[in-house]
């Protein structure tokens, strides 16, 4: 990690530590802890998506499917086969990774719109399967009583405990991803984004790397799904639909595709919007989402993280012309 990243990282850790304390003091927002847990869960997905979209330059409109596969694998293994939650989580990750590999290899040969459509199609197929295979998944009525996660035999009951668990995982994954970005792998991914032909000529195994980052992002989504299953403890296929896939892409785009911090920022903003601040709109939140996405993509293509640098750039230019 370079110095800038380390600084931001420490800042984030401080904020995360202060957050539960601050929130517990004000009754009206004490439920924000619950929202932040969802922010953490979704961040696991969006960090992976950021690597896929912002760094490797690919697109996926079906990531809610991987989230759902992880959630349901954990749910089904724990509820129906009494498997231990951690083992189920690992199994879910392996299974989802395998599915992602099988789908990824042919899909990532496609580019642009076709890749988007293929991932979209895949995502919807998974939703249909989750709805139809009632014996396994409980169908539209859902799967309930998913057990809690345990550490050394003690079930993780409270919100604060889960908050600490989720965000510890997020921070570990964050460090891992930052390390990857600043390595030959990260450079290879970015080279694929900028010019696949030149990357090929430099010996970068472009096809393999695309699949690799796709599978990595799917595994992260699966882990997030398992965490979700053990937190909410009730699963229904409607939570893993196309709209969620689009929202996940939105989080990455709105925050800023080309930066992991952008993914975190976008996830935080959109999760709070969705769970809290848009309640006034009730069902019409999708209208707001559509409008926000449209605005950002047309006016602020580099996302919210670019607002700071852009403003300072404009300010500098203004001063230059004055002097």
């Amino acid at each position: 990690m370079n110095r800038q990243d380390t600084g931001i990282f420490l800042g984030v850790v401080v904020l995360l530590t202060a957050f539960p304390v601050a929130v517990s003091q004000v009754e009206a927002i004490s439920h924000y802890l619950d929202v932040m847990i969802f922010v953490g869960i979704f961040s696991l997905i969006t960090m992976g998506l950021s690597l896929l979209m912002g760094y490797a330059g690919q697109v996926s409109l079906g990531h809610a499917a991987f989230f759902g596969l992880g959630a349901y694998t954990s749910g089904i293994l724990c509820v129906k086969l009494a498997v231990s939650p951690w083992l189920a989580m690992v199994s879910g990750a392996l299974f989802t990774g395998a599915v992602a590999y099988a789908v990824g290899v042919p899909s990532l040969k496609l580019k642009g719109h076709y890749l988007a459509m293929a991932t979209l199609g895949f995502g919807v197929i998974v939703t249909i399967v989750l709805n139809e295979e009632v014996e396994f998944t409980g169908g539209p009525s859902g799967l309930s009583d998913v057990p809690r996660l345990e550490i050394l035999g003690v079930p993780i009951r409270g919100e604060l405990e889960f908050y600490i668990l989720v965000w510890s995982m997020v921070l570990l994954v964050l460090v891992f991803c930052l390390n990857v970005i600043h390595s030959r792998i990260g450079r290879a991914l970015r080279s694929i984004h900028d010019s696949e032909v030149a990357a090929d000529a430099m010996g970068v195994e472009t096809a393999r790397y695309k699949v690799m980052v796709f599978v990595l992002s799917a595994v992260l989504a699966s882990l997030a799904g398992s965490l979700y299953a053990h937190y909410v403890r009730f699963l229904s296929p409607g939570s893993f639909d196309l709209l969620l896939s689009i929202k996940l892409v939105m989080m990455v785009v709105v925050g800023g595709m080309h930066s992991l911090w952008g993914a975190l920022l976008g996830t935080w903003l959109l999760t709070f919007l969705g769970n809290e601040w848009l309640h006034v709109f009730k069902d019409f939140d999708i209208l707001v989402y559509g409008a926000i996405l449209l605005f950002v993509v047309m006016a602020l293509p580099e996302g919210l993280v670019s607002v700071g640098p852009r403003l300072s750039h404009m300010w500098k230019r203004g001063r230059e012309s004055e002097g």
């Binding site: 580019k111 199609g121 919807v124 999708i286 559509g290 993509v297």
Partner: protein, 298 residues
């Protein structure tokens, strides 16, 4: 209801298949028209169908059917034009990813607006010629099916005439063939883009208007319709006019047979599986040329 023989059932499925297939074909045509001029995929294509259906329900309440139909098509065409003017036109040198996200944003915006206006429940509409079925080839066939097939055929014929005989149509074909050359010859590509969106919206609206009496219509039908229509477009060879129509029919029939004979819950998955298979195995589609698809930016 009289019990149908297997033959009668098959005929029933075939009719259903050809009916939905016509809609898929229309959606596929819409994708192709925009793709041919802009090389982009309009993710909001399905929403035009949805808007056509819901708008028709409203218009038919206080206008005679033909006028309601024309008004519906006109309004949805206007939506397509607005979409192009406000979101596509300003993004001249945008990356592929940006264009994808923009049309997705528009599709959820349209969905949200539809939900705002019409709510979440499905809307019913009376078939154009009444509810009494006619008997053909051993099956009871709703008259609306004939309307769907008829209007689809009219659309195909009109489009063919448009592309072959009119100046604008031929200009659009030129764009599809070679955009740079078309520009050099003086064809106003920007207007062609606008026209392509208008046409696609109109076709989608017509399809939506005519299918609603059979399969109802609700605010979130667009995504699945769009996906399946895209599947038909790719199956027929992206950019191919007749390929789209043929592939749409094939897709509709396959889906209907699978739903009837195997499992109706997985009906929607059929079209999506076809989409994935085509993209993975033969992206040039059934009727597209393999050489041309190598040059296409897959």
């Amino acid at each position: 209801m009289e019990k149908l023989s297997l033959g009668g059932q098959l005929v029933q499925y075939l009719f259903t298949g050809v009916t939905v297939g016509s809609v898929y074909g229309m959606v596929a045509l819409g994708f192709n028209i925009i793709y041919n001029v802009t090389e982009m995929i309009n993710f909001a294509q399905g929403e035009f169908v949805m808007l056509g259906g819901l708008m028709m329900v409203v218009c038919a309440k206080f206008l005679p059917l033909p006028m309601a139909f024309v008004l519906t098509v006109a309004i949805v065409t206007a939506v397509g034009v607005l979409m192009e003017r406000f979101t596509i036109n300003p993004l001249k040198n945008a990356s592929v990813l940006t264009l994808i996200i923009v049309t997705i944003a528009v599709s959820i915006l349209l969905k949200g607006i539809a939900m705002f206006i019409w709510g979440k429940d499905p809307y019913v509409m009376q078939p154009f010629s009444g509810t009494k079925p006619i008997h053909l080839f051993g099956a009871a066939v709703q008259t609306q099916i004939l309307w769907v097939l008829g209007i689809s055929a009219v659309v195909v014929v009109l489009l063919t005439l448009f592309f072959r005989k009119t100046r604008y149509g031929k200009a659009m074909l030129a764009c599809a063939d070679n955009l740079e050359a078309a520009r050099l010859v003086g064809i106003k590509v920007k207007f062609m883009v606008l026209l392509s969106f208008a046409l696609s919206a109109a076709i989608g609206a017509a399809a939506g208007a005519v299918i609603t009496p059979i399969s109802l219509m609700e605010y979130d039908r667009g995504a699945l319709l769009g996906l399946k229509g895209f599947g038909a477009a790719v199956l027929g060879g992206l950019g191919s006019f007749y390929g789209a129509v043929a592939a749409g029919l094939i897709l509709g029939i396959v889906e209907s047979l699978c739903a009837g004979l195997i499992s109706s819950g997985y009906k929607d998955a059929v079209g999506l599986l076809v989409l994935l298979l085509v993209l993975f195995v033969r992206p040039s589609g059934l009727f597209g040329s393999v050489e041309a698809s190598k040059i296409k930016k897959f």
